[in-house]
Amino acid sequence: MLDLDVVTLSRLQFALTALYHFLFVPLTLGLSLLLAIMESVYVMTGRTIWRDMVKFWGTLFGINFAMGVATGITMEFQFGTNWAYYSHYVGDIFGAPLAIEGLMAFFLEATFVGLFFFGWNRLSRTGHLAVTWLVALGSNFSALWILVANSWMQNPVGAHFNPQTMRMELSSFTEVLFNPVAQSKFVHTVSAGYVTGSVFVMAIGAYYMLRGRHREIARRSLTVAASFGLASALSVVVLGDESGYTAGFSQKMKIAAIEAMWETEPAPADFTLFGIPDTKTETTSHEVKLPWLLGLIATRSLDKPVPGIKPLVAVAEQRIRNGIDAYKWLAATGDKPPAEVPEALEGSMHDLGYTLLLKRIRPDVENATEAQMHDAALSTIPDVPVLFWSFRIMVALGFYFIALFSAAFYLACRRRCGKPWFLTLVLLSLPLPWIAAELGWIVAEYGRQPWIIDGIMPTFLGVSNVPAGNVLFSLAGFVLFYSTLAVIDLFLIVKYVRLGPKSGPDGKATGLFPAPAQ
């Protein structure tokens, strides 16, 4: 018997490992590109202060990279043990981008990271600059392939069901790679990483300026980070909007839940800026709406309505009913599955995933009652209050970053970014990009529930029936492991920020970097 505790524990374990992993990733993404920009300035101008900046920020990058590397591998551990049914069912598609990430992107990044740290005295200026850009490219490539994999979970294109192997199989790699969800998600996510790196650099620069230390490095760092951060923050918001649009056609229930939109919003659909969703009464009180905005985000029009939760539940119920023929056929084939799905059942096959929602209610789903089908349809509603507030806090932070970077850019251009109130505000903003990024993943993943692959496989059917005690202990192990890494990361970063950049003709090494050749 599949124990619900195993389902909840497995989900919690994966969620925690993913959220912990994403504490390290955005800073790697952002800092790698900032390093490349700063070193480009060094090579173009020849001014050694820019080289010292690269070495200092490179030290912090190295600490975060070393702590973060391989923190993602624990998720791959879980695929084989805790999510075995999921791995079999969709591994033919899901596994490919993960494998490419490991073999191509990660090795590219890891190889050139070594050259970045130890190649200063061995490579020419332009050679080392190329290495730094390749490190940035590698980290972004890693993000691309991981997000291609995750985007397929949100919008499963380019695949078909094979009844002989009882799994989804790849029909078109091009469709998977150019999944519209992947395109917007990739740029949105890496931009969020760039924002994180920019806020990090600005906050530490602000710290030095408030302390009256390393002013020249701090001022230049602030200026670069403000410029890069502003472009990145604008990109995050624009591509976040694009993600909303793609979700508007591929994940309508997610949009409805994010909006706490119980009924269909007539055209031109308004956006709920604020409200208090009530899942018991299925209403949202104290609504403050922005006219037309949801229509523009979700449909790019002013004449299309946006479906609400209740109508989408009715659609889900119909799809549950529609998939039963395919379910019966697959159940009847037994040990002799045919090579392909009969043409007459192709429509029903399309809704098989919805019928599988009934498995949580009764094993013989073909005998489900109308009430049970309705219950299964209701399970397609994700957690509305969590999504509603996570999304709004994330978006509010996104606009805050635009304002913060705009102010920083303006003040930097006027050479007036030494104002204590502004520097204090920047310093206090340090944790905010991480909060925004984690909330973004909560919206993406929690909003996809009850699906592990949207419309194809419910989450509870992806979980292996391992003893709940095993999952509990491994979960505890992961929490301990990741917490220790986070503490070490924080300790080392604080230590080397306090030590500050080291430079000068005395030949002393800066952080991770060897002394210049004699």
Binding site: L4, M67, F77, A84, P363, L461, G477, T484
Partner: protein
């Protein structure tokens, strides 16, 4: 080697050991659940005991 190199080296050793222990304890080959087309079919389309029911998201 700079001091930070030693610190990071120690952290990496800790990480490698911790990951190895976690893998050996909870995720090694002996703990993998073997899934074949046959047992996948039985799991999805068989009439085995149903998963524990979940309360639907509807007003009481």
């Amino acid at each position: 080697m700079p001091r930070l190199g030693h610190e990071i080296g120690a952290a990496l050793i800790f990480k490698a050991v911790a990951l190895a222990i976690l893998y050996w304890a909870f995720f090694g080959p002996s703990r993998h659940v073997e899934v074949t087309p046959t047992n996948m079919a039985a799991f999805l389309f068989g009439n085995g005991p149903s998963p524990s029911p979940v309360e639907p998201n509807r007003p009481r």
